[in-house]
C-alpha cells in the first residue's frame, strides 16, 4: 500500500496537486452555499429599505 502513496517518488507532487484541486472544489462549494444562505437575509435588508416611504412626485400646472 505504501508504494501507492510513494508513487515512485512523485507522490508529493501528485498528492499535492489532487489535494489542492479537492480544496478548491470544496472551497467553491462552501462559498456558493454560504452566499445562498446569506442571500435571504440580504434580501430582507433590501426589502426593509424598499419599504421606506416611496416618493411619489407631484406634477401640477400653474394657472
Amino acid at each position: 500500500m505504501s508504494e501507492f502513496f510513494l508513487m515512485g517518488g512523485h507522490g508529493a507532487y501528485v498528492w499535492s496537486a489532487y489535494g489542492l484541486t479537492l480544496a478548491v472544489v470544496i472551497i467553491n462549494v462552501w462559498l456558493a452555499r454560504a452566499k445562498l444562505r446569506a442571500a435571504p437575509q440580504r434580501a430582507r435588508e433590501l426589502a426593509t429599505q424598499a419599504e421606506a416611504p416611496r416618493k411619489q412626485p407631484t406634477v401640477r400646472r400653474l394657472q
Binding site: 508513487m7 507532487y13 496537486a17 489542492l20 478548491v24 462559498l31 435571504p40 434580501a43 429599505q49 424598499a50
Partner: protein, 250 residues
C-alpha cells in the same frame, strides 16, 4: 432586435431561480460521483505514463481545471455581452457568478501545472512552458475583472463597465494564447503540456474524459448556486423573494 419568446422566459429571475433549484441536485450529485470515480480511477487503476511515471496522473486534473477556467471566462463574456446589449440584469448576474469560479479554477490549474512540471524540469516555475504562462495571464484577466467590479459602488454601472472589459478580454484571449504559443516555439523548451498532453492510451483516456465531465457538471452546479444567491440579492424587494424568504430558502 425582437427577442425570441423563450429568451424572455430565461430572462425572468423567478423562473431561472426555480429552474436552478430543480437542476442543481442532479448536477451536484452526478458531478460529485464522477469526480470521485474519476479521481480513484486516475490515481489507482490507470497505468503510469512510460515517460513521466506517476506524476502523469496529474493529467486527470490539470487540463480539466484549465478548461473550466477558460470556459468560465467565455460564459462570463457571453453573459455580460447579452446583459449589455439587451439590458438583461439576469445575464449580468450569470457573469458575476461565473467570474470567481473561473478565477479559482485558473489558479488551481496554474498550481497543478507548476507541480506537474516539477519532476520533469526540476523547477517549480518553468517560464518556458506556454500553458503555465497563459494560465497566469488568464488569472490576471480574472483578477482585473473582479477588481474592476469591486471598484464600483453602483451595481448597474459595475455591470455595464465590466461587461465591456469581459468582451474585450475574450477577444484578446485567442491573441494572447497564440502569441504565447508562438513565443514558446521560439525558445524550443520541452512543451510537456502540449495541446493534447502526452499521448494517451485508451485506458488513460477514460478517466480523463470522466474527469472532464465531472468538472463540467461541478462548474455548472457552482454557477447555478451562485446565480441563485445573486438573483436573490438583485431582486431583493421583489414580492416572490419575500415569499421565498418567508419559507427560508435552503
Amino acid at each position: 432586435m425582437k427577442l425570441p419568446r423563450w429568451f424572455h422566459q430565461f430572462g425572468s429571475p423567478p423562473y431561472v431561480y426555480r429552474l436552478a433549484d430543480r437542476l442543481c441536485p442532479w448536477l451536484g450529485g452526478l458531478g460529485g460521483a464522477l469526480l470521485a470515480v474519476g479521481a480513484v480511477w486516475g490515481l489507482a487503476f490507470a497505468p503510469p505514463d512510460y515517460q513521466q511515471g506517476e506524476s502523469a496522473r496529474i493529467i486527470y486534473i490539470h487540463p480539466q481545471t484549465a478548461y473550466i477556467g477558460m470556459m468560465a471566462y467565455v460564459v462570463m463574456a457571453v453573459a455580460s455581452a447579452i446583459g449589455y446589449v439587451w439590458r438583461l440584469k439576469l445575464a449580468h448576474a450569470v457573469a458575476v457568478s461565473a467570474a470567481p469560479i473561473g478565477a479559482w479554477f485558473t489558479f488551481c490549474a496554474l498550481f497543478t501545472g507548476a507541480v506537474w512540471g516539477r519532476p520533469t524540469w526540476g523547477t517549480y516555475w518553468q517560464w518556458g512552458d506556454p500553458r503555465i504562462m497563459f494560465e497566469a495571464l488568464l488569472l490576471f484577466l480574472f483578477l482585473g475583472y473582479l477588481a474592476l467590479r469591486e471598484a464600483f459602488d453602483d451595481r448597474d454601472k459595475a455591470d455595464r463597465v465590466t461587461a465591456i472589459l469581459a468582451v474585450v478580454g475574450v477577444v484578446n484571449i485567442p491573441i494572447v494564447h497564440y502569441s504565447v504559443e508562438w513565443w514558446n516555439s521560439l525558445h524550443q523548451t520541452s512543451t510537456l503540456l502540449a495541446e493534447g498532453g502526452p499521448a494517451m492510451t485508451t485506458d488513460m483516456l477514460i478517466p480523463f474524459l470522466i474527469m472532464v465531465a465531472a468538472f463540467t457538471l461541478t462548474f455548472y452546479w457552482l454557477l447555478l448556486r451562485r446565480l441563485q444567491a445573486e438573483i436573490v440579492e438583485r431582486e431583493g424587494d421583489a414580492r416572490w423573494i419575500r415569499e421565498l424568504v418567508g419559507e427560508g430558502a435552503r
